[in-house]
């Protein structure tokens, strides 16, 4: 099996889906001739031409809106927001139109669009290039939000998102693009949306997280294993709607639960995970449910010291894991 970086896995998923189904096309700022600012759509313009790798104006509401219209007419668009931070002008299109159309039309219409966006900090990107925006969309029935943590998951889930008959937001951590590498099958495979995945089996503490933080948790877990602390790590993969069954099972396994996100703490994805656990697992809990998250300040700062303070990293995760294990 070849080893790919996270972004290569994204590119190969796009390429294979475009080869498989001519209704699949990509659109976004600089996704065509340039191949995307992160090179995620590299080579697609050359292989599929300007009508299937569309360069658009700097207008996110139009990128989403054009994609939604095309999707409702039977196409399978993959729209790219250059940075998740810039998705805000498109929120009305995504929530009011894409998420609602199946319900509003009583199943007459649907909207099989995939919207990709790089999110996350730790790259000296400051305010407009570092944010996590998943919580904005995570109480909108009709939407699905996928945030894979490995190259393998990225490819399998992006294919699933493109083939899904309803709108899927697909958030890729920009720091993961070239940081994470892993084995990815060259052949066609699809992973289920809505299913969490156990990334590490353990018996002392349960970590539930998603995206790049899965990687931090795995690193910390390896260090803590040397001290005899055995962590169980559940990767949500789909953050909306949540895989309740897997969350409950993982929480019950150890009774000590640490939830991690790099997003602002209050009202984040993990707040909902905490609520699910407290609804279902009271008599299995051995410690208060812990949340490790970014502070409740508006955005990732630029100054390196301040960015470090805000951003999640393996040391913070390790410290929180050790404290919970010792409780």
């Amino acid at each position: 099996m070849p080893v790919m970086s996270y972004i290569q896995a994204v590119t190969s998923a796009l390429k294979e889906e475009m080869q498989r189904d001519e209704k699949v096309f990509v659109l976004g700022e600089d996704v065509g001739k340039k191949g995307g600012v992160f090179r995620a759509t590299d080579g697609l313009y050359d292989e599929f031409g300007e009508y299937r790798a569309l360069d658009t104006p700097l207008a996110e509401s139009a990128i989403a809106g054009v994609g939604i219209g095309a999707a409702m007419y039977g196409m399978r668009p993959v729209a790219e927001m250059q940075f998740a931070d810039f998705i805000m002008p498109a929120v009305n299109q995504i929530i009011s139109e894409a998420a609602r159309i199946r319900y509003r039309s009583n199943n007459d219409w649907n909207c099989p669009i995939t919207i990709r966006a790089p999110y996350g900090g730790g790259v000296h990107g400051a305010l407009y290039h570092s944010q996590s925006v998943e919580a904005v969309f995570a109480n909108q029935p009709g939407l699905k939000i996928v945030m894979p943590s490995t190259p393998y998951d990225a490819k399998g889930l992006l294919k699933a998102a493109i083939r899904d008959n309803d709108p899927v937001l697909f958030f890729e951590h920009k720091r993961a693009y070239r940081l994470l590498k892993g084995e990815v099958p060259e052949d066609d495979y699809v992973l289920p949306i809505g299913k969490a995945d156990v990334k590490r089996e353990g018996s002392d503490i349960t970590i539930i997280t998603y995206g790049l933080c899965v990687h931090f948790a795995l690193q910390a877990a390896e260090k803590l294993a040397e001290e005899g602390i055995d962590a169980h790590i559940l990767d949500l993969r789909t953050v909306y709607p949540l895989d309740q069954e897997a969350i409950i099972e993982a929480a019950k396994k150890t009774g000590k639960v640490l939830l991690i996100t790099e997003d602002n703490k209050e009202g984040s994805i993990i707040s909902e995970v905490a609520a699910i656990i407290s609804e279902h697992c009271l008599f299995d809990l051995d410690a208060p449910i812990q949340r490790l998250a970014g502070p409740d300040v508006p955005a990732m700062p630029y100054a390196p010291t301040m960015e470090k303070y805000f951003m999640m990293n393996p040391d913070k995760v390790e410290k929180a894991m050790r404290e919970l294990a010792e409780f």
């Binding site: 000296h124 720091r175 070239r178 940081l179 009774g255 409780f327």
Partner: protein, 423 residues
């Protein structure tokens, strides 16, 4: 002079590593601040790495072609002044020192139980007071309880783990009352009094008796049995028996045999109270009380219903012998389902036995006494004996006990030379 580190710079937002394509300097070469020292290639950009200091290249750590993660060392430089140190990109992050952990004796969390710990303790009848916690502040963790459950070593209060209580006490019923605190002060000894410390078997007896009497609602019943025929039969063969077998054929063996037979027909008496259920035992294992000086043992005749009168007599003889010589093993004392007590050996004619917990009843066999009895309107001198039964009224009622005693009486009154063979 100071040695500084040059590290791989951040060359783009998603760039986490770069490959040194060419070194533009050699070791020992002098460079000025911001002079390019290397060309670096990433999959996004190609860039030059500028020197962060003015000074001499001391050592090139990375080779051309090496892929180095952002922030990792690529070379060392010797700078001309210490001032450079202030510009070091290696700002050591001053994480707050880990607060010194509370002292090991800290037990402040010992009695803070999590929902999981409380539930598991309840389901497995674990007394949390007896568990040592390994969590912070002595907190008992779910893992602590899981360990106890998998090891099967559920801690029990020491008072109940006494010698005579070897039977499995499955359920610590919540009805078990707390040892009543004496309302009045304990008696004080005065000059000339002897104080005997309560230890060992004495203490075990005391604890068991308190437990039996506080936990078990006792009721009593007595029947009088005419054993004239039994006595004459036994007296007739006892010398012969002793000669042949080498041990005594006691009256008690006949009584034990009759009780075993009676229990077979009325298994309700051969049972135990277990909180939410009554366990009727299949085996008939009869505990017999054997006194020795200040001690009282209750060894067990196993499967008494399988034995002949001779077999029972031998078991009684063996167990009594062992008790007197201190050779009883834990195994000898285990598994009793009903107790027969030979109070008659002390000359007692009536007594109210305390039930041997967790059994459901105890039968006292009193002295055989010659008495005038009216038979067919005439006085006759007969050998009479009282059988006194104590019963656990939670398990048993008067009717079944009355039937049981009636049956035992019938068996005993029909023992004679022509009906009974001791072998």
């Amino acid at each position: 002079m100071a040695v500084e580190k040059i590290t791989m710079p951040q060359l783009g937002e998603s760039v986490t590593e770069g490959t040194i394509s060419t070194w533009l300097v050699k070791e020992g070469e002098h460079v000025n601040k911001y002079d390019p020292i290397a060309e670096v290639m990433t999959d996004k950009v190609n860039a030059e790495v500028p020197s962060s200091f003015t000074g001499t290249i001391k050592e090139l750590v990375a080779n051309e072609g090496d892929t180095i993660a952002v922030g990792e060392l690529i070379c060392y430089m010797e700078t001309e002044s210490d001032a450079g140190a202030a510009e070091s990109s290696e700002t050591v992050d001053k994480e707050p020192e880990k607060e010194t952990e509370a002292t090991e004796q800290d037990q402040s969390m010992k009695k803070r139980y999590s929902p999981a710990v409380l539930r598991m303790a309840q389901e497995n009848n674990i007394d949390l007071e007896l568990v040592d916690g390994t969590g912070r502040g002595g907190r008992i963790t779910r893992k602590d309880i899981e360990k106890i459950i998998t090891s099967g070593e559920i801690p029990k209060p020491s008072a109940s783990s006494v010698q005579e209580e070897k039977q499995p006490t499955k359920v610590e019923t919540p009805t078990q009352p707390v040892q009543p605190k004496p309302a009045k002060p304990l008696p004080q000894s005065q000059a000339g009094d002897v104080e005997i410390p309560v230890t060992g078997v004495r203490k075990a007896i005391a604890d068991n008796m308190v437990r039996s009497k506080t936990e078990i609602p006792h009721a009593w019943m007595t029947v009088e049995v005419d054993v004239t025929d039994l006595v004459s039969y036994r007296n007739q063969i006892k010398n012969d028996f002793k000669q042949k077998e080498g041990f005594n054929l006691t009256f008690f063996a006949f009584f034990v045999k009759a009780v075993a037979q009676g229990l077979k027909e009325f298994p309700q008496l051969n049972s135990m109270w277990a909180g939410d259920k009554i366990i009727q035992k299949k085996d008939i294992n009869l505990s017999i009380a054997v006194a020795k000086d200040q001690e009282l043992f209750v060894p067990v005749i196993k499967n008494a219903d399988d034995l002949s009168i001779k077999g029972i007599a031998r078991d009684i003889n063996d167990l009594a012998q062992k008790a007197r010589t201190g050779k009883l093993t834990a195994d000898d004392m285990q598994g009793g389902t009903f107790t027969v007590n030979n109070t008659g050996s002390f000359g007692s004619v009536q007594s109210m036995g305390v039930i041997n917990h967790p059994q459901a009843a105890i039968l006292q066999v009193e002295s055989i006494v010659k008495k005038p009895v009216v038979i067919d309107g005439m006085f006759a001198a007969r050998d009479m004996v009282n059988l006194c039964l104590s019963l656990d009224h939670r398990v048993l009622d008067g009717l079944v006990c009355g039937q049981f005693l009636k049956r035992v009486k019938e068996i005993l009154e029909n023992i004679n030379e022509s009906t009974t063979n001791v072998y």
